[in-house]
Every structure is written in structure tokens, then in C-alpha cells.
Point group: C2
Chain length 152, copies 2
């Protein structure tokens, strides 16, 4: 064991495990048309509507990718595009009521899944894991939590 499994792979496994668990539970509760990518936009709109132009910086993807993601989520009825009142070019994106319900369900499931992790390693170590991880990510990004994919 001179070279243990790379940290990156542990993170990949952990991520998949949580996301798979999320969608499994969502499907069980009737949310069958939720794509994994939806979660990022959902979370970004948690604090309120956002201008489409601001989202690439938050999500860490191109504006075209954001546009396509919004398209899908509009088609699924989770968000709405509304024209910006003060700028004829701009549009805003906001959660529909169905989107808000989904967000609430997702947050409930995160709590459940993290509770399962607590059962495995205990609350103290889980809290430490979270805070250590947040610290190292923030330290590499000037104190703020970076987007998933560092924006180009």
C-alpha cells in the first residue's frame, strides 16, 4: 500500500453514492423526471430568482449549457423564465411552485442520507469531515466556495 487509492477517487465514489441515493429516493416518492444536473440549478435558485447571465459564474459552465439546462427544467415544469423588467435582453429564472416542492424534497433527502453517514462514522467525525473539506476548498479559492467546475 505504498500508494493508497487517490483521494479523487474517494470523492467520486462518495459523490455517486449520494447522488444515486438521492435519485433513488426521489423516484420512490414520485419524482421520476429529475435529472442529476437539475440539482445545481435548484440550489442556485434557492435564495431567489437569478438572471440567466449570472448563472454561468455560479454553476461553472458556459451560458449555452445553462440555457439548455434551463430549457429542460422549464419543460419539466421546475423553473420559469421571466423577462427582466429593467432590461429587454435579459431574462430571469425562478423556481416554479413545483420546483420549490422538489427543492424541499431534495433537502429532506440530503438530511436523511447524511444521517445514514452519521450512523457509519458518528456525528463528530462527519462534522469534521465536512468542515475540513470546506476549509480546503475555500482556501484554494480565496475564502468563497468555488463552483463545481471552475469557471473558464
Amino acid at each position: 500500500m505504498t500508494e493508497p487509492v487517490p483521494l479523487a477517487r474517494l470523492f467520486a465514489i462518495a459523490y455517486r453514492q449520494l447522488v444515486d441515493g438521492l435519485h433513488e429516493r426521489l423516484a420512490e416518492r414520485g419524482w421520476t423526471d429529475v435529472r442529476p444536473a437539475f440539482g445545481f440549478l435548484l440550489l442556485a435558485l434557492r435564495a431567489g430568482p437569478a438572471s440567466l447571465g449570472d448563472l454561468p459564474g455560479v454553476l461553472g459552465t458556459s451560458k449555452q449549457a445553462v440555457s439548455k439546462l434551463v430549457d429542460r427544467m422549464v419543460a419539466a415544469g421546475y423553473v420559469e423564465r421571466v423577462p427582466d423588467p429593467g432590461d429587454g435582453r435579459a431574462k430571469q429564472v425562478r423556481l416554479s411552485s413545483r420546483g420549490q416542492a422538489l427543492l424541499a424534497e431534495v433537502e429532506r433527502i440530503w438530511v436523511e442520507l447524511e444521517a445514514a453517514w452519521e450512523d457509519a462514522i458518528g456525528g463528530a467525525r462527519l462534522a469534521g469531515l465536512r468542515s475540513d473539506l470546506e476549509q480546503v476548498l475555500r482556501s484554494a479559492h480565496g475564502g468563497a466556495l468555488p463552483p463545481v467546475r471552475t469557471v473558464a
Copy 2:
């Protein structure tokens, strides 16, 4: 902060950060045709050649996806397909010498990147993070480290 950022997102960010760092450094050192997906196969072949049929269980994808990945890596000169001596249907996959050199470079870079993390949170907390993470992943999978994507 009733509901902090989900753990899953922290893992996604951490994963991207490490993988982006890896490929940045690889490119700096002349490895310009390495795709992110290569790493998984590289690691799987670290201990020696493997039968193509065994890889889906290790990588957590379908055998067709494995075949396509091997195609790409063969085209890039990192692995070789050799017929299984004892079974006319089966083929084995093994690292070429260039693949071994790449693997060595990748492992060197992981060490460098993890050293940077140590600078941020210290060696003890990094070690704790790793072992906690490994423990919770193993506990959900009967003691063994699961594949990235749980096999169907």
C-alpha cells in the same frame, strides 16, 4: 444556515478540483491527450493485466462502455489488447510501456496535489478525512471499496 451546502456538492467540487489539477499538470509535462476517464482504467490495471470481462465490475460501467474506453486508450497508445491464451473469446488488457509511464506520472501528481491539501488543513486532518471517508464508503458496501458507479 439551517441547511448548509450538501455534502454531495462538496464532493463534486473537490473531485473536479483534483481532476482539473491533475490534467493541468499532465498537460504541462507533455501528456496532452489524456482524457479524464483514462484514470479509472489506468488504476484498474495498476496491479497487472485484466480480462475485459472483469473490468465492468471494477469500473462500474457496462461492458460496452469499457470496450469503448479501451478503444480510445489503445488508439492513444496507453493500453494493449491481447488475446487470452486460454479462451478464444476473451481478451486481456494491459498497460503499454507508455501507459506505465503515464501511471507513474499520475501517481506522482496525486502526491503533489495531496501535499497541497496538507498545507491547507494539515496532515493529521487530511489523514482523518481520508480514513473517515474510506470507512463510510466501505461500511455501505460490505467492507470493500465500491466502484465509482455501483454496478447494475
